[in-house]
Symmetry: C2
Subunit: 235 residues, 2 copies
Amino acid sequence: MNLILLFQDDFITNTIARLQGRRLRHVLQVHRASVGDELCVGLLNGQIGVGKITVLSQTLLEMEVRLERAPPPALPLTLILALPRPKVLRRVLRSVSAMGVKEIILLNCFRVEKSFWQSPFLNESSVKEQLVLGLEQARDTVLPEVLLRPLFKPFVEDEVPALVKGTLSLVANPAAADPCPRDVKRAVTLAIGPEGGFIPYEVEKLLAGEFIAVHMGERILSVETAVPALIARLF
Amino acid sequence: MNLILLFQDDFITNTIARLQGRRLRHVLQVHRASVGDELCVGLLNGQIGVGKITVLSQTLLEMEVRLERAPPPALPLTLILALPRPKVLRRVLRSVSAMGVKEIILLNCFRVEKSFWQSPFLNESSVKEQLVLGLEQARDTVLPEVLLRPLFKPFVEDEVPALVKGTLSLVANPAAADPCPRDVKRAVTLAIGPEGGFIPYEVEKLLAGEFIAVHMGERILSVETAVPALIARLF
């Protein structure tokens, strides 16, 4: 936790925030902080600044908060991700939240196991928990939006045209002819398939929707590795 | 498992390999293969090719192996990684093995917890298991070398000068002035610190050893995210 993310209801006055639970334990056990110490804080979807500890016990922390600067810029990226298996999903959500992705669409495909859609890790609170961990890691405050799209065809036919408009639209595919471009300096829509890849029908639908297939070399990477690698290559 | 990695002692004749255990189960449960099917195989540290299944039961698989092409090229990278916590280590080893890193040095630093060095995940067999999983994921055969360096100072003073010779030597640091270069097309030595970063003394020692500090933006990334991101940026 390189930044303590604060929520509006942590504030007991305009400038005093009171913490308990996970964030308090982290301050005690990892930061090993004392009264008077200043910690990096940020307000959810707001500014970043400093929290000066005024009260600290095993059950309660109060800090005087001074917010003073904008969070780091977001990536101009919409990530369309075939729903990974639940444990991987958690790590990928943390990772993309930390990298600054703000638009994440979890999509069904032929090779996504149906059971993944029943996972408790897809609950709104569980998704938010991982996104917040990513923001705290990266010192960001802006919560990404995660949309669930359990039907491939209507998503690609009805929603994709508006989504990709004005963006460079890429689908990652180890069999693609073109390498993933570098340092693109423009808005991107990036589709990443499941373990085992999109099936040919799905690739065709995406290509028909103006996506360009790109590869990261002949190695087939797991979703967890491919996602940060593709994002780092693009931006 | 996009490639089944074969070892010399899997071969019962020059061309027939016999599998049991994990790889057999994978062929039965994930590939759902039958006699006559051809699977992608590779010989440890050797070529890649095809294994045509000749015998298949719940306890045994035999395949006729035809090796025909070289594995994908290795990355010209020596990765010096502050030893991460054990669970993260496993995933990072898989990930860098899949990306084609062949030289990995796990280094002690001030912010590496002493207990990490006692982890059973550092056993040779456990490390090899993760590296093999990475090779199988990426369709590679060449096992990376992993060296353990539990003493920072003698490593940096005595070994680093020979190690970095002729390479672009970089240390990842969110506070660096320069961004991580892209598409470098040369050999690189890359040092990545622990969660919490190298301490100033360690950064100074690395800079004195001709390393250049580079960043990936103002976001602080976890080791799991930073490693594939830095590698994808560099190559």
